[in-house]
């Protein structure tokens, strides 16, 4: 490591990978082809996912917040991830914890809100506060931060994913991709070990459990199946132990103050950590009537307490193996991820279940962020454009509520994403002009037992007799695992307006408002941010077009090259100014004139792939060693230098 680093204004923006964990969060980047974690000013890698607020609007994140937690239990949010994408009356809010929640009112029942000094704070905002600190730590190290890959539990549903993406946006990050945590871990392991085969990733974190079965073949990481429980983790072990501690301390159910609950939870966690390599632990705790009491917890007792939690993971594991059509003996290895896999009972259980000695040689707390950094590097085009590709799946079936409240599955779980499905509906009343669809996610037969994602209202259907209109609704799940819905009326060809009412989470307006509130100079800062975003996007497209000129100029039709060049020039002129909408308009124009050409290039790529040639070989020579972001930086630096 250099003794000191000189600030370089031309430093290229560097892509980062973020593990936004239940207990700890961290950020990593790729340096010289190797992923590494960012250390903060205290030389620590892990930032505790703890956020504290005071009555003067200050925000504390990480260890500082952790230290304040005992004194301010209600105003210190721990394990916020468990509340992401959940409704105000979700069972999660009723578990042992020190928080005060804003009572669910009809209007905002779709989001959990913590009450902090009379203010209501959503999990998205709390997560954004953690992300801001991670971004800052990365900037201290890398000077400029580019796009980010943020990891999510594979078993996160659509609402939880959307909430995570909103948090990234709120923190001012360009979210390149949401990446499933087990897949990220597999990526880190796969690149280190360079061994093809069939693997299981067992990821038991602070609040979530994932099991993923995937095959690694020649750089392709293809997920076969995934399963889990997005409310199961090390926290549940802490709660089980804390209940015992509260009993030994003589604290009655009624006299559980937020302070004593926080204390018991912290002591339980410390006991769990100690029992990893010790047979017994002694805890000195305050007694209810005054004074203190010494409580001894033996490992056998601890294991007895947590066994039901550990065994719950087995159900998901067996199902994932069955869905993948794999017997444990066929696996080539089992990878352990997440801090809770340090618990000896968990390791024994995994060994018995999968009949393999589990691998844990990459730090289970860091492996996810390291994999995310690799993926960010690949997506940003700075990484080696070799043959690495992740093919992930939809974790939970998507369905529609039909007559009688029964779920009709439209996309089954474990379908490779991106994926689409089309369904046709008809009107049931004369002159019906609207249609409502209820989208749910889950495996249960009744829609009310599944998780409600959103209600989609189709509007503007031309009045027709019942049964005449034919509505074609297309569901598409993108590579982030997020659902998008479009609709068309087939007899008239009219594109339908789709109004989405998310059942859980925030709508676009609410996120926009939070964005405004979070910035010091509201509108002004937001405008500056929009301009910066428009610039990055425009530069990227300019670079992509230039690259296409080198590789696929032969596919241009007469006159087309001139039109493209003219629009490139126009875009260049717009970029010299400071008008975000002018830049966006020029990007759209360029997009328009390159559309047909892009189609021809795509077809060429397809036929080459069918011939077995790899297009990346061609692109490699074109892009050279620099990559997109480096190119962008050089351009931006020269543009700024001209002022």
């Amino acid at each position: 490591m250099a003794l000191f680093e000189i600030f370089d204004p031309k430093a290229p923006p560097r892509p980062i990978g973020i593990d936004l964990g239940t207990t700890n969060s961290l950020v990593a980047y790729v340096q010289d082809g190797k992923p590494q974690a960012v250390v903060d000013c205290d030389l620590e890698v892990l930032v505790p996912s703890v956020v504290g607020y005071d009555d003067r609007g200050n925000v504390f994140v990480g260890r500082t917040a952790q230290r304040r937690a005992l004194g301010h239990p209600k105003e210190t949010i721990v394990s916020v991830k468990r509340f992401m994408g959940r409704g105000a009356s979700d069972p999660e809010t009723a578990r042992l914890g020190p928080y005060e929640f804003v009572p669910p009112a009809d209007a905002d029942a779709n989001v959990v809100r913590f009450r902090v000094y009379g203010r209501a704070v959503t999990p998205v905002e709390v997560s954004a506060d953690i992300l801001r600190v991670l971004k800052k730590n990365a900037e201290d190290k890398l000077q400029r931060v580019g796009g980010a890959v943020i990891t999510v539990p594979a078993y996160f549903d659509d609402a939880q994913r959307q909430a995570t993406k909103d948090a990234g946006r709120l923190a001012g990050l360009e979210v390149l991709r949401l990446l499933n945590e087990p897949t990220a871990a597999a990526l880190a392991y796969g690149l280190e070990k360079k061994q093809d085969g069939l693997f299981a990733v067992y990821d038991l974190g602070g609040g979530t459990f994932d099991i993923t079965i995937l095959v690694l073949d020649n750089g392709i990481f293809q997920v076969r199946s995934t399963g889990g429980d997005s409310a199961l983790g090390g926290d549940d072990m802490d709660r089980a132990v804390a209940e015992v501690l509260l009993g030994r301390m003589g604290v009655e159910e009624a006299s559980r103050t937020p302070e004593v609950v926080r204390l018991a939870l912290d002591a339980a966690r410390a006991a769990k950590h100690s029992l990893t390599d010790r047979e017994a632990v002694e805890l000195e705790l305050p007694a209810a009537g005054g004074g203190s009491t010494v409580v001894t917890i033996e490992r056998a007792h601890f294991e007895h307490l947590i066994r039901p939690i550990v065994e719950r993971t087995g159900v998901a594991c067996r199902r994932a193996l069955k869905d993948a059509g794999v017997a444990p003996e066929e696996l080539d290895g089992v990878i352990l991820v997440g801090g809770a896999t340090r618990v000896p009972l968990v390791r024994r259980y995994v060994r018995e279940l999968f009949k393999h000695e589990p691998l844990a040689d990459i730090d289970p707390d860091q492996v996810v962020a390291l994999g995310a950094a690799v993926q960010a590097d690949l997506l940003a085009g700075t990484g080696p454009r070799d043959e690495v590709l992740l093919l992930d799946v939809l974790p939970l079936s998507l369905g529609l509520e039909t007559m009688g409240g029964v779920t009709e599955k439209i996309l089954p779980r474990n379908t490779t994403i991106p994926v689409g499905a089309t369904q046709t509906f008809t009107t049931y009343a004369d002159h019906q002009t609207g249609f409502e669809l209820h989208v749910v996610q889950g495996e249960r037969e009744l829609a009310s037992d599944c998780r409600s994602l959103a209600k989609f209202t189709l509007k503007g259907i031309p009045p027709m007799p019942a049964g005449m209109a034919r509505l074609e609704v297309t569901f598409r799940v993108d590579a982030d695992g997020l659902l998008h819905v479009t609709a068309r009326e087939l007899t008239t060809g009219i594109e339908q307006k789709v109004e989405v009412k998310p059942t859980y989470g925030l709508d676009d307006e609410a996120v926009e408002q939070m964005l405004l509130d979070a910035l010091d100079h509201g509108e002004e800062d937001l405008a500056a941010r929009r301009l910066a975003e428009a610039r990055v996007e425009a530069e990227r497209i300019r670079f992509a077009t230039e690259r296409a000129f080198v590789s696929d100029a032969d596919l241009l039709e007469p006159g087309e090259a001139e039109r493209v060049e003219r629009e490139m020039q126009n875009l260049g002129e717009a970029l010299a100014g400071n008008d975000a909408s002018a830049i966006q308009n020029r990007v759209e124009e360029l997009d328009h004139v390159t559309h047909a050409w892009a189609g021809r290039r795509m077809n060429r790529a397809i036929s080459r792939a069918m011939e077995g040639k790899q297009v990346s070989d061609v692109e490699e020579t074109v892009a050279g060693a620099k990559g997109v972001e480096a190119h962008l930086a050089a351009e931006q630096a020269s543009a700024h230098g001209g002022r």
Binding site: G147, L176, R177, D217, I220, Q222, V315, R319, K322, L378, L379, A380, G381, E387, L389, L390, L391, T415, T416, I417, P418, V419, G420, E443, R476, D478, A479, R540, I541, F543, A544, T545, V587, L590, D591, T594, H595, A598, G599, R601, M602, A605, I606, R608, A609, M610, G612, Q614, V615, S616, V628
Partner: protein, 173 residues
């Protein structure tokens, strides 16, 4: 619905080499997956997403024998959808009903052994039906004759699949 054989550029036969199809699927994914187009123009990103969806769908259809058969029939202008197929043989229906009753009985009694036994019996029949399907599609059999014999087998296979799905649900608890 897309034609999965055309999408993946695979010869339209029932007895496909799934390993080769999967390799083709992966080769196409390498160039079409949205991860490969993050830095491209919006038009190209949309296009890559659309194509990646098609390629994923094609692979999903082709590795499932029922859907593969449906796709082949569709190429011959025969469109069969679940529910619209001709009525099954009453004797077969009766037999399936008995099996389903036995399954619900085993479920109610939590008799795991019986569930497994029933599942095994259906799997054996499924395998035989798949073999019949394969020979019906084999080159040499006359087209109209083949299609006539294929449709009822597909209906049969769907019954088996629903039965096995139910078994799976019982196993999941």
């Amino acid at each position: 619905m897309i034609d999965p054989f055309d999408t993946l550029g695979i010869a339209p036969t029932f007895d496909v080499d799934l390993a080769a199809v999967e390799k083709r699927y992966r080769d196409l994914s390498r160039v079409l997956h949205p991860d490969r187009h993050v830095a491209s123009s919006p038009a190209q990103r949309r296009m890559s997403l659309g194509k990646a969806v098609e390629v994923n769908e094609a692979w999903r259809l082709l590795r499932d024998p029922i859907r593969r058969a449906e796709a082949l029939l569709k190429r011959h202008g025969v469109e069969i959808k679940e529910g619209s197929e001709p009525k099954a043989d009453p004797e077969f229906l009766m037999e399936m009903m008995e099996h389903r009753e036995a399954l619900s009985e085993a479920r109610a009694k939590r008799d795991k052994e019986a569930v497994l036994r029933l599942a095994q019996r259906i799997r054996t029949r499924e395998k035989a039906a798949l073999e019949r399907l394969s020979s019906a599609f084999a080159p040499g059999s006359s087209e109209s004759e083949a299609i006539e014999s294929i449709v009822p087998v597909l209906g049969e296979l769907r019954y088996y699949r629903r039965f096995l799905d139910e078994v799976s649900a019982i196993e999941d608890g």
